[in-house]
Every structure is written in C-alpha cells, then in structure tokens.
C-alpha cells in the first residue's frame, strides 16, 4: 500500500463525510465500508497526528456501528493519546476503550501515558484517563496506577473525584489488595456532605452493599433493619423504595415487621397502573415466595389476573408465582386454572404454562400429587391442548407414573386408550411421543383394560402410518402384548370351564382322560401338572408376583365376559391383515417386530383351528405371557454405574473387534436372559424349532433377502437364533429399562432393587428413586450458587476485612499499617499466580484482628448454614470483638442516615 501522500492529508474525508456517504449508499454498503477501511489504513499511517486521529475516529465509528474489527490499529490509538492536542487524545482514548482488552499485546504501553494524564492539570484530560482505566483496567494497570487514583480521591475538583471513585470500584474488582489502601478514603468520601457524590444512586448502592454483607454478618441486620424500614415509610422515590424492599426480601427475611411492611409496599406496586411497577412487584414477590409464601397467597388474585396481562414478562413472572403457590391441597384447582389459561394464550406462553405444570407436579417424584387418577387424566387433557409441544415430558411422566404407582394403572390405561383411539391425534407430530407412551402403557398394563380388542384395533389403525418408525415399533409390540393377553385369558376361560366340567362330571377320572375330553391339555401328566399349578391360586410354589397377576387376569377376564373362539380368530386375522404390509417395511425394527408377531400369529392360528387349542400352543402362550407379566419398575439414574464391569468386558477397546467380543459375550448372556421365568431355557428350546419352521414357510423369499441383509449388516442383528425367538420378550424400544438388558448383572441388580421397591411403592408412591434424584440436584445447585458468589465475595470480603481492620487500626498504632504495606507488597507478587491464596496469607499476617481470615473461609464454605449457627457463634465471638462490631455497624448506619437526610422526601 502506498504511503499517505499530501493529497490524502489535504483531502481526507471526515467522519461526517463517511456518515453521509453511507446514508447515500442503498445496496453497496459493505463495498463502501471496505473502501473506507482501505482509505483509513492508508491515512492512519500518516505522520501528521491530525490526519491520524481523524482516520482513527472514522475507524472507531465503523467499528462500533458497522462491526468491523479494529484491533490492528491498537498502536495508532496509543500514538494519538500521546498527542498534546486534546481532541486527538480524546479520539485516541475512545478508540482504546472500545477496542482494547486483556489480550491486547500493546496494552502495557499505555501505562505511562495514563499516569501522565492522571497527573495532568487539565481536569478533562484526567477524566479521559480515568474513563479509559475504568473500561480497560487490567490487574497490572490497576496495580501500577493505584497510587495515582488514590491521590485523585482527594482531588479538590468534584468532577474528578466522582470519577476517581468510579475507577476505584474497577480497581477493587481487578486488584482487591487496593482495598487496603483506598477504603478509608472512600468511606470518607461517602461520609462527606458533598451532595454531588451522595445521591439517590449512592443510596441504592449502599443498600446493595448491605444486602451483600448481611448474610456474612447477622448482627449487621439487626442494626440496619430499622433505618431501612424508616426509609421505606418515608421515601417518595420508587427506585429507592424498591431497593429497600428488595434488600429486605433478599437479606432480612427473618424480621417479620420489616417483611410485613415490604409486602404492604409490594401490594402498592402490584395495583399500580404502571406496568413497570407491577412487574417489579411480582418480581419482589417471587423473591420472597420461598420464605414467606403467605405474601404470595395474600395477593393471589392479582397474580392470577396477571396471567392474562399483555406483557410477556408480567405473564411469566406471575406464572412462576402461581407455580410457587401450588401445594398438595390446591394443586387440583390451580392446575385447572392454568390449563384454562393455556387454552386461551399464545403458543409460546401456553407451553410455558404446560411446562411449569409438568415440572411442578413431578417435583420430588410427584410429591404434591395425592390423586393420581386426576393427574393422569390431566396429562391426557394436556396432550389434547392444540399448542402442546411438551410431548417428551408427558411421555416420560406417563411411563414413569405407570411404573411407580400401581393403583393408577387402570386410569392410565383408560387415558391411554382415549388417546390411542382418536385418529386425529396421529396427525400432530408433537403428540407422537405421547402416543408412544400411551401405546406402551396400554400394552404393559393391558390386564386393566375393559376392551383389549378395541385397543388392538386402535394400535393397528391405518393412520398409524403417520408415526415415525421408532414409535411404530412400540405400537406393534404393544399390540403383540395385548394379543398375548387375549389369548391367555381365552385359555384361562376354557380351563375354568373345563375344570368346572371336570369337577362336576368326572370328579374321579384320571387326568389323561380329562385332557382327552376337553382337548385342553394333551400328552403327559407332568405338563398338565405344570399348567394346573399356574392357575391355582392356592399353590405355594409360585412367586407372589405371578399370583397377583393371575388374580388380576381372573378379575379382568370376568369383566370382559370372555373371549369366544371366533373373537380370537378375528383378532388374529386383524393383526395379520394390518401387519402383513409391514413385513416389507424399510425400517429394520418395524420389519423385524412385525415379522415376529406375524410368525407367532401364524403358528397360533394353525394350532387353534376348529375350536381346539393344542397343548403346544397353550404352552407357548403361557410362556410368552409369563415373560410379559414380569413387572418393570423404575430404575435409579445411577443403576448403570453400580454394575461392576465383568472381567471379560473391555469397554474402552476399539469397536473394530466388536464381532469377536460379541461372539464371546453375548451368547451366554442370551441364555440367561429369561426375565426370571421359571421355564427359562425350555422356552427357547421348545419354541424355537416350530417357529423357525413357520417362518421359513410363508416368506422364504423375504427371509433369503433378510439373510443377505443380515450378512452385510450383521452388527445390527441380534446374534443368535435363540435370541431371535426370544426377541418378543424384549421390552419396547423406548422402555427405560432396556439399557440394562445388555448386561445380566445389571438385570439382576435391577430386579433386586425392584423387589425392594415393591412393598414401599404400594404404601407410598414416592420412595427410593427420589432419594437418588435429589442427590443429583443437590450436587448441581450449590455449585452454581458458589460460582456466582465468588466474585462478589472477593470484594465484600475485602470490604469486611477493612471494616474490621479500620477499627482495630485506630486502637493499635502505626505498626499495623507498616505491616500492611509489607503485606501489600507481598500480595503484589503473589497476585498473578493465585488471588485467593494471597489473600489468605494476608489474613494470617494479622491474627489479632478478630481472626478474620479463618472466619472468612468459614463463611465462604458454609453460606447458609452459617445464619443458623449464628447464635452460638455470637456468644463465643461477642466478648472478643463485639465492640468493634458495633462501631463498624455505626459507620454503616451513618452512611445510610446521611443518605436519608439528603434524599429527603
């Protein structure tokens, strides 16, 4: 690029020219800007500072309005501030404050110029330098310039002094050691009667400081609360009033009279016409809600009315409050109100409402829900709200409740049925996840259904083609479960009839004959015995679970008034018809599942022809039914972690040798994958032979294709033959438990926890899992709190330190001050390495001052715990530094009183 010529200097465009130029550009704005930047790059190299500063000014403008990077011009900016001309300096400082940051390499080059300008006689130059420092001051800059800033604190010019105070805040933030030097002077500034400095703003600021200090020092609150209340009663300034309220509700919630007063003031805000005040009132209420719920309840009407406010902020805030009001006793009515509001509001807020209902109700494992039947039907209702997009959450809750709360299952199935049966819902993709849950619930708890056949029809209706494959698989699997249930009930019915007949007519006849006549049980006696055991409630060999399920089966079988042979055949035909096309589905999962069901249907159809059920069929049905009746329970989030990794399993190995690993590990695991059914292996053995035959017969063509496919994508198939037949036993795709199936140890563990869950779950639907969940939450929340606190702590600790130190300093003499200066030096060296540590060292150096460092660390680690402990701690401490404390508080009070006087009405 050519060096700047005289022409450039003479005919340089000013910032105004650029702005005008930009305004005349309609389309080619970016082209114009890049031309200008080109120009600036040339001009800025000029040796003439005037040209340079104009170029820099233009660049700053383009940087801030048109977002063009200007970090490359850092050095030119430094050249400009060194100009003796004020306007050049000003341009330079503006550029620096806009573009410099910690990583600017030349930033330390400005230290000397800043120092020079800070000492300047021209107050406006000083102000430029102060402004710059307040914007870009790094730890190094702050450390090096602290003495100059410190001097300026006592400047005679108000204009400079107030800016110096502003800089001190930045310096404190960046370089906390400066507190030791400056704080006293700062307090003097505040104490001064200069109305310029102590304004309403400072009043607010002081209150902020109190709010921060209060949790650290409970005794402070006692002294400050009254003046603040006084203030609240008298002040006319809304901002100060709000700050008082906020201070009380955040920090002084234990002082009942103060809280009452602020709640009264909040009510004034709430009924005000100004939407701002209303919003702030609601905001203050939401701060106070966790500690004083009565305050919210008192203003219930306003809050609920605000739900239909025009302002989205107000709506959100009131929604939060409404959610906070929810309790065991009013959850029903509040949810009703909220659902009504959600019907009326725009989609976004509607989902906010639904989200808050869902999250509130599932808190601590449905802590506040008593009537689960109601809640489940509410979930169903929410799913039908047109804007509802909370499918995933509702899905999770439906399944979760199903697993946790036994008593609600009949209602759950009813709700699920209503959802499944409505063909319109299938068109809404937001509802698909809910439908998936409904399908799963209906399949899993089908024994509570009054009309299982209707469910199968719903699950296989043509519009299910609108579902994504992953959910379709759930539908197919559920249909299969229901089919098994129907077949089983049918068998049971026949058995009962046969038993009745047998006892009536043939009482003493042998079992062989019995089976012959009824065609129910053919073949050998042991098999017959086995069946009988299954259906005899009095038999003690069976586990509790099996018993209960059979009992339930009995009950529902009675309810249905039974299946006829015809209805069963119709059902089988229906399934065959609906799933037939799916056996060619491009989705592997859908294809495989429908294939499995079809194979099974085929087999059964052959076996039950002519109104007879063969022994083999009834045995198969029984076994599959047994597999399905295994109850699925909630699983702890940490369950997987608790599973010890078996010896042979190498989780971190490269997946390339997955084939080899599969060969070794999965084969044995598939055998023991028996869902605890007593027949375990025999299921595999007895079923696999016929079924594989059946399957190969009707669709040999597709199986050969399948075989081909299997060869190519072997990884995605279940490995062994036995597994294939058992595939029916796999829980549906979205079953939360499925992850555990990969590992038999995990399964055992789950079963174990399951059993331990069982009795408790009955009595109270909120036990073991919540403990785990809570633990997780407990881990997360405090971390966040800590993080946000650290920076403020740093400063308030330092302030606190000084407040304590100040008093002590007056008592003892210079020695401490000299001690301090040495400590300051030490801190300086340490600072870059580790800030908190350097402070710790400083604390140790002056153990006489009420041992602040040790106490400080206690505050930091315990936070809230502290306030509870305070009484006993007070006793032990009070003797030591009670006097100091009271004086320290006095200083603070003086501050606020003065402020009060100045502010006036």
């Amino acid at each position: 690029m050519a060096s700047p010529s005289l022409m450039d200097t003479l005919f340089q465009r000013t910032l105004d020219d650029i702005i005008k130029g930009l305004r005349h550009q309609q389309a080619g704005e970016s082209a114009f800007i890049s031309k200008v930047v080109e120009e600036i790059r040339r001009e800025i190299k000029s040796t003439d500072l005037h040209t340079k500063s104009i170029a820099l000014q233009k660049l700053t403008y383009i940087n801030s309005i048109h977002f063009i990077d200007m970090s490359w011009a850092a050095f030119h900016a430094i050249e400009c501030i060194s100009s003796p001309n004020f306007s050049h300096k000003k341009v330079g400082y503006l550029a620096i404050s806009m573009s410099f940051n910690e990583s600017t390499s030349v930033i330390l080059l400005i230290t000397n110029q800043l120092r020079k300008d800070l000492k300047s006689n021209n107050e406006f130059e000083v102000s430029l330098a102060l402004d710059c420092l307040s914007r870009i001051g790094t730890a190094d800059l702050c450390r090096d310039l602290t003495p100059e800033v410190f001097t300026l604190l006592s400047s005679s010019k108000v204009f400079v002094r107030k800016k110096a105070i502003g800089v001190v805040l930045r310096v404190f933030g960046k370089y906390p050691d400066a507190v030791r030097v400056c704080f006293k002077r700062l307090v003097e500034c505040l104490d001064g009667t200069d109305p310029q400095i102590v304004s309403a703003v400072v009043g607010v600021f002081l209150l902020k400081i109190f709010a921060k200090l209060a949790p650290l020092e409970p005794r402070l609150a006692k002294r400050v609360v009254e003046p603040i209340c006084d203030h609240m009663r008298r002040t006319g300034a809304k901002s100060l009033m709000f700050e008082c309220i906020r201070t009380v509700v955040t920090s002084f919630t234990d002082y009942e009279s103060a809280v009452k007063l602020s709640v009264a003031k909040i009510r004034d805000f709430l009924v005000d016409d100004d939407p701002n005040l209303k919003y702030l009132g609601l905001h203050a209420l939401s701060i106070i809600a966790p500690n004083h719920l009565w305050a919210v309840l008192e203003n219930k009407e306003v809050v609920i009315k605000s739900l239909s406010d025009d302002d989205p902020n107000v709506k959100l805030e009131s929604l939060r409050l409404v959610a906070a009001m929810v309790s065991e006793s009013n959850v029903v009515e509040i949810c009703r109100v909220l659902v009504n509001y959600s019907l009326k509001s725009d989609p976004e807020f509607c989902n906010e409402i639904l989200g808050s209902i869902l999250s509130k109700c599932c808190q601590n494992v449905y802590e506040i829900i008593v009537d689960f039947d109601w809640y489940v039907s509410l979930l169903g209702e929410m799913s039908r709200i047109p804007h509802c997009q909370k499918g995933e959450e509702i899905e999770n809750q439906l399944i979760d409740i199903g697993m946790r709360v036994k008593d609600v299952r009949p209602e759950l199935v009813r709700v699920g049925r209503d959802l499944l049966i409505d063909p319109a819902l299938l068109g809404n993709s937001f509802l698909h996840r809910i439908l998936s849950a409904a399908a799963w619930v209906c399949g899993e708890y089908v024994e509570f259904s009054t009309k299982p056949v209707e469910l199968v029809e719903a699950l296989l209706q043509p519009r299910t083609s609108l579902l994504p494959p992953s959910i379709r698989t759930v539908y197919i699997q559920s249909a299969f479960k229901i089919l098994i249930f129907c077949l089983h009930s049918y068998l049971l019915q026949r058995e009962n009839i046969a038993d009745d007949m047998a006892s009536e007519m043939l009482g003493l006849k042998s079992q062989g004959e019995c089976s012959g006549s009824s065609a129910l049980v053919t073949g050998k006696a042991p098999a017959c015995q086995e069946q009988d055991e299954g259906f005899n409630p009095r038999d003690s060999n069976k586990s509790y679970e099996d018993l209960s399920i059979i009992n339930e089966g009995d009950v529902s079988a009675l309810l249905e008034k039974g299946f006829t042979h015809e209805s069963i055949v119709n059902l089988l035909n229906l399934i065959e018809l609906a799933l037939g096309p799916l056996s060619g589905s491009p989705d592997v999962e859908v294809q495989e599942r429908s294939k499995n069901v079809l194979g099974f249907v085929d087999l059964i159809k052959q076996e039950i022809s002519n109104g007879f059920v063969s022994e083999r069929a009834s045995k198969i049905i029984d076994m599959v039914h047994d597999a399905f009746t295994e109850e699925l329970g909630p699983v702890s989030v940490n369950a997987q972690e608790k599973v010890p990794i078996p010896d042979g399993l190498m989780l971190k190995e490269n997946l390339a040798d997955l084939d080899a690993i599969c060969g070794n590990v999965q084969l044995p695991s598939s055998i023991s994958f028996s869902m605890g059914s007593p027949f375990g292996e025999s299921v595999g053995a007895s079923v696999s032979i016929p079924q594989s035959k059946e399957e190969s017969e009707p669709s040999s063509e597709s199986t050969s294709l399948l075989a081909e496919h299997r060869k190519r994508h072997g990884l995605y198939y279940l490995p062994s033959e036995k597994n294939e037949t058992l595939a029916n036993d796999y829980p549906p795709a979205n079953d939360p438990k499925s992850s555990d199936n990969t590992n038999d140890d995990a399964q055992d563990l789950v079963k174990l926890t399951d059993k331990s869950l069982l009795p408790k779950r009955r009595s109270n639907h909120a036990k073991p899992r919540p403990v785990v969940v809570k633990l997780d939450e407990g881990d997360v929340a405090p971390i966040i709190a800590k993080k946000s606190a650290t920076r403020d702590d740093l400063l308030s600790d330092a302030v606190r330190d000084i407040l304590l130190g100040n008093v002590a300093k007056t008592a003892s003499s210079q020695s401490i001050i000299s001690d301090k200066s040495s400590s300051k030096r030490k801190g300086k060296e340490k600072l870059n390495v580790d800030l908190p540590e350097s402070r710790e060292i400083l604390g140790v150096e002056k153990p006489d001052l009420g041992n602040p460092s040790s106490r400080r660390s206690k505050h930091r680690s315990h936070g809230k715990e502290k306030s509870r402990k305070s009484p006993e701690k007070k006793n032990s401490d009070e003797i030591g530094d009670g006097e100091k404390e009271s004086r320290r508080v006095d200083i603070a009070i003086v501050g606020i009183k003065q402020n009060k006087e100045l502010k006036g009405p």
Binding site: K20, S64, S134, K163, L280
Partner: protein, 166 residues
Amino acid sequence: MIKAVMVINTQGKPRLAKFYDFLTVDKQQELIRSVFGVLCSRAENVSNFMEADSIFGPDSRLVYKHYATLYFVFVFDTCENELAVLDLIQVFVETLDKCFRNVCELDIVFNYSKLHTILDEIVFGGQVLETSSAEIMKAVEEISKLEASSNSITLVPKTVSGWRNR
C-alpha cells in the same frame, strides 16, 4: 454495573453501542440483533423490562425505552436498580434533547463522538456517575469547547474535505 448501552432504530440499525466489558465485534453484532429481535416483537404500553438472561447470561436485566424511531436500551446486572436505570434513560434522552434542541435520529447519526461524550458523563465504566442533566450539560459543553479550541489550531481547512464527495 451497567453492561451495555445501545441505541437502535426501529429498523434494527445500531446508532450507538457501548459495551462496558470487552466483546468482539461479532459478539456485539449478535447481541444487538437478538435484542432488537425481542424488542420489535413487544407491544406498546407494556413494561419497559425485558428478560435478558437468554441473551446476556444469568442475572442480567434489560431496560429499554422507545422514543419515536429509536430504542434506548440499557443492560445491567443485579447491582443496579431497574427503576433507577429507567430514570437514567430519561436523563440521557433529556440531555440529548438539550444538547441538540429537539433531538431526532439524524442528530444521533451525525454526532457520534458527542454522543459518547455525553454518555461518558452519565455512565462511567459501567457505574452511574451523574443523574443531573444540568451537570452533564455543563461538563459536555466544556469538553466541546476544549475540543474546538484544540482543533482550531490545525492547518487543514475543514471545508476542503467536503469537495471530494461531489
């Protein structure tokens, strides 16, 4: 602490942007865009506060005021009082009005540097410095005077630069 001051027109063009913590230009642009996105969707006669947590991170608040074709936006953290900041916007606009006599968007477009000077007298390094518009005016006028006097020494006649555009 005040984190940012923005003046955006109703078309979404920034007229003034001042961030009190350093941000890259890309980040600045993104923030201004998202703020404007929310602002222009808000109705008239609603509160002047906006939830800003999603844009500026937790604990940030945003107060804005809509004058004619301009939005004046202040972003700040928990250390400031919402109502006080609202008053501050009023002070800022009043001062502009005094400075430019019936301020309009054009004044703000063409007086970029002066705008910064004014704002620097109100907000200083993120802290509220002055709330009296008379005081602010006094300081700004003196600074302008100083600037003018230091510029008058320069040899290049200002009018020359205008030729080039024609």
